[in-house]
């Protein structure tokens, strides 16, 4: 396989990893805040805290890994995305900073004010919305190129239905993914009340997730016809994804095995995410930058891939240890250790 394909696949996998762990994280913060608002805090907040505490830092690293990696493998993306994203990415950064640090301040520093819970929960929803702007821009049509600069056409961006569909999709899927995961986690913790509540949330958010995802495919038809065509050629991938979705919802509905439901959900998003990624090929930024044009030199590519493999040898056992100690440890999940 060509080096640039390895590069983009690695990055795509990590971006997917970020989307899953960050969705759980953002969604959990939101549900936590919402439960305070509706006086159901006693039901789910323990479950959420127990999961989030040991992993909040790791979640952040997935994002750093992705943007360092993409500049490493594709240095030209730094020029294009770096120049146009100054404002939206800075706003995401500020939100991430507030959210990440206030999590630590309130958990370890005992800042027990409802205001922080709300701030934490609701800022978490703005982050996926602001980050998903990148996906919109990559479809092309929002960048003005002049003699010595490029800039973002905000008017065009904010009036495009595509932008808003992607924003809504990111919000709905964050809440859906998070709710399914937490249902499983609460069930493992033998907390029936939390399981029932989270299962309800999962079922509620499954609907808008699917509606917007289908809507976006239709909107691409008028926005980026080439991409739309490529997606149609991969119709079978999206069909598989849709069937996995139905299977997940069925399991949730019948109160079946929530572990399997979560795995099916991962499968659903994985297939759709790769289907989307493959159909976007060969563009990194339509129509300015393709994967071949933006790729780094061969020497660097080889070095990065070796570093990546070596890093994985270190990372996978460590992640496994983390999961074993906190996610798959019966006593921890059931709250028998105090932190």
């Amino acid at each position: 396989m060509a080096y640039e394909l390895i590069g983009i696949s690695v990055l795509w996998v990590f971006l997917f990893g970020y989307i899953i762990v960050a969705s759980i994280d953002f969604g959990a913060g939101f549900f936590n805040a919402y439960s305070v608002l509706t006086n159901k805090h006693h039901i789910i907040s323990n479950i959420i805290q127990r999961y989030l505490s040991p992993v909040w830092e790791v979640t952040n690293v997935f994002l750093v890994f992705f943007f360092v990696g993409i500049v490493g493998f594709f240095p030209s993306t730094a020029y294009y995305y770096g120049t146009v994203l100054l404002v939206p990415a800075s706003l995401s950064l500020v939100l991430l900073a507030i959210r990440g640090s206030y999590y630590a301040f309130s958990t370890y520093g005992q800042l027990k004010s409802k205001m922080w819970i709300y701030l934490y929960g609701f800022s978490g929803l703005l982050i996926p919305a602001s980050l998903s702007i990148v996906l919109t821009i990559s479809e092309g049509g929002f960048i003005k190129e002049s003699a010595n600069s490029i800039s973002l056409n905000y008017a065009e961006l904010f009036t495009s239905p595509l932008t808003w569909s992607i924003v809504v999709l990111s919000l709905a899927s964050v809440l859906y993914i998070s709710a399914v995961f937490l249902t499983w986690y609460a069930n493992k913790a033998k907390d029936d009340e939390a399981t029932a509540l989270l299962r309800k949330y999962a079922l509620i958010w499954s609907v808008p997730t699917m509606v917007t995802a289908s809507g976006i495919i239709v909107e691409l038809r008028s926005h980026n016809f080439e991409h739309f065509q490529n997606m149609l050629n991969l119709w079978w991938l999206f069909l598989i994804s849709g069937m996995l979705f139905l299977a997940t919802v069925r399991l949730l509905w019948q109160k079946g095995n929530y572990g399997v439901a979560f795995i099916l959900l991962i499968g659903q998003f994985l297939v759709a995410f790769f289907g989307y990624g493959i159909s976007h090929y060969p563009y990194l930024l339509y129509p300015f930058l393709t994967i071949e044009q933006g790729f780094t030199s061969e020497g660097m590519a080889v070095a990065l891939i070796i570093a990546f493999l070596a890093g994985l040898c270190l990372l996978l056992p460590s992640l496994f240890l983390l999961l074993r100690l906190f996610l798959f440890n019966k006593n921890y999940v059931e709250g028998k250790y105090k932190g």
Binding site: P54, F67, L86
Partner: protein
């Protein structure tokens, strides 16, 4: 906004972010080592005080790590947002250590999470201590890799330049550039040193405020010993840095020493005020010292600013930063050697109020030295962003909203700075060590 303004605001914002980040980053690199030492001493000596020391430091450490992580994310992304042209060019050569840095960070994040949530899970405390090794290694190695990137900007190599394109890239050669050894070593040594003095300052402050507990005395001795070792190491490495500069970046050395004319047997300028560009007043000149610093030979020739075109000379105010950094370093080394010596000879002066106050001051001063050192290193590279290759003014973003982003981030750092200080102070005020020792005893019964 025209280009000149965009460059100005981009520089200001980068400087602001880095200056803020470096406070938390330095602590983040140094403290895991100290926590490890404390826990190890506690297990070796079977002394509960050291274990508690490790615990309490860790609790404060999490707060600083949180701010370090989020500001680190900010600077990582800001590099691309503010300096897209630079990242496009340099990314071709220097992506490898940047990439490896995220692995080190990942490694640290995973084990820190495990360490924090398994205090009482293992029967054997030694198992728990082992978790700190990857944390300390991860923390130090992220400093190593990121400093490699910075060293590359000072001494770019590992590629050929033809028609504006970088070809024949050799990432390993770029990583192991001539500036790397002294920079990495100096960054690590000063991070350990500064963290030690900051923790020492806390211990001294508690003693001053009336607590006379053994716990604080043990903490003070431990941190002062670590501070002594690393302040001496920092001074020795600093000397090597001078020799590196003389060889590879003579314009930086000449600017920070106010060395205008190339000459043999050059003298070192201490203190002084610069007037009208080239007039040095009130300075102390030490004969031959600059030649010794630069080449280890009192009669060696040292290149002066006269050898460089005017627009390639860094601003001369870096001399003041240099003096600040060196003086604080020497003060800290002397202070810790007096303390360790005084403790060894069982002298009482180390617990006198004035001496404790000096220790309290040494913490913030060490952090100031870190800032001064980085400003010196970075401003001393101007006007280049990649020395000899790409000027700063050609590398900045062309976006028109940099000034707004600057104000946004000023606000963010104010909030984070005050909130983290508030949380830290409250955490330890509400739970003094005496109380925690009592609680632990009760729990055991």
């Amino acid at each position: 906004m025209d280009n000149e303004q965009a460059v100005f605001f981009s520089r200001l914002l980068t400087e602001l972010t880095l200056s803020f980040h470096i406070i938390y980053a330095t602590i983040g690199v140094g403290i895991p080592l100290l926590i490890f030492i404390a826990q190890w001493m506690g297990i070796k000596k079977q002394d509960e005080h050291y274990i508690l020391l490790a615990r309490r430091w860790t609790r404060g450490f999490i707060i600083t790590v949180a701010v370090g992580v989020v500001t680190g994310t900010a600077i990582g992304l800001q590099l691309n947002l503010l300096w897209p042209t630079f990242m496009e060019l340099a990314g071709n050569v220097i992506a490898l250590p940047l990439f490896m840095e995220t692995f080190a960070f990942f490694f640290e994040a995973i084990f820190l999470g495990i360490y924090l949530y398994t205090w009482d899970r293992f029967e054997d405390q030694r198992k728990h201590m082992l978790l700190l090794i990857p944390v300390a290694i991860g923390a130090s190695f992220s400093a190593v890799f990121i400093t490699m990137v910075n060293a590359f900007m000072n001494a770019p190599q590992g590629f050929e330049f033809s028609n504006g394109d970088l070809i024949n890239v050799q990432p390993i050669i770029a990583m192991f550039n001539p500036a790397m050894p002294t920079k990495v070593a100096h960054v690590l040594a000063t991070a350990y040193m500064t963290s030690a003095f900051i923790l020492a300052a806390i211990g001294a402050y508690r003693l001053l405020k009336g607590s006379n507990h053994d716990y604080h005395k043990k903490a003070l001795l431990l941190t002062m010993k670590v501070g002594l070792v690393f302040s001496i190491a920092a001074a020795i490495i600093g000397d090597f840095s001078g020799k590196y500069l003389a060889e590879y970046q003579p314009e930086k050395l000449a600017a920070l020493e106010w060395h205008f004319e190339t000459e043999e047997a050059a003298s070192l300028t201490l203190f002084g005020i610069l007037e009208n560009g080239e007039e040095v007043k009130y300075a102390l000149k030490i004969p031959y010292a600059l030649s010794i610093l630069a080449h280890g030979d009192p009669n060696a020739e040292v290149i002066g600013l006269d050898q460089f075109p005017e627009d390639e000379i860094p601003p001369l105010y870096i001399h003041y930063l240099f003096i600040t950094m060196v003086l604080i370093g020497m003060f800290a080394a002397l202070l810790s050697s007096f303390y360790v010596l005084g403790n060894w000879l069982r002298r009482k002066f180390i617990f006198k109020r004035f001496f404790l106050w000096l220790i309290v001051v040494s913490g913030p001063l060490s952090m100031l030295a870190i800032e001064a050192g980085w400003w010196l290193a970075e401003v001393g590279r101007q006007p280049w962003v990649l020395r000899g290759l790409l000027k700063t003014k050609d590398a900045a973003t062309t976006s028109g909203q940099v000034d707004l982003m600057l104000y946004l981030f000023i606000l963010l750092y104010l909030v984070l700075g005050f909130a983290s200080a508030f949380v830290l102070i409250r955490m330890f005020k509400h739970n003094p060590v005496e109380q925690e020792l009592l609680d632990r005893q009760k729990e055991r019964r």
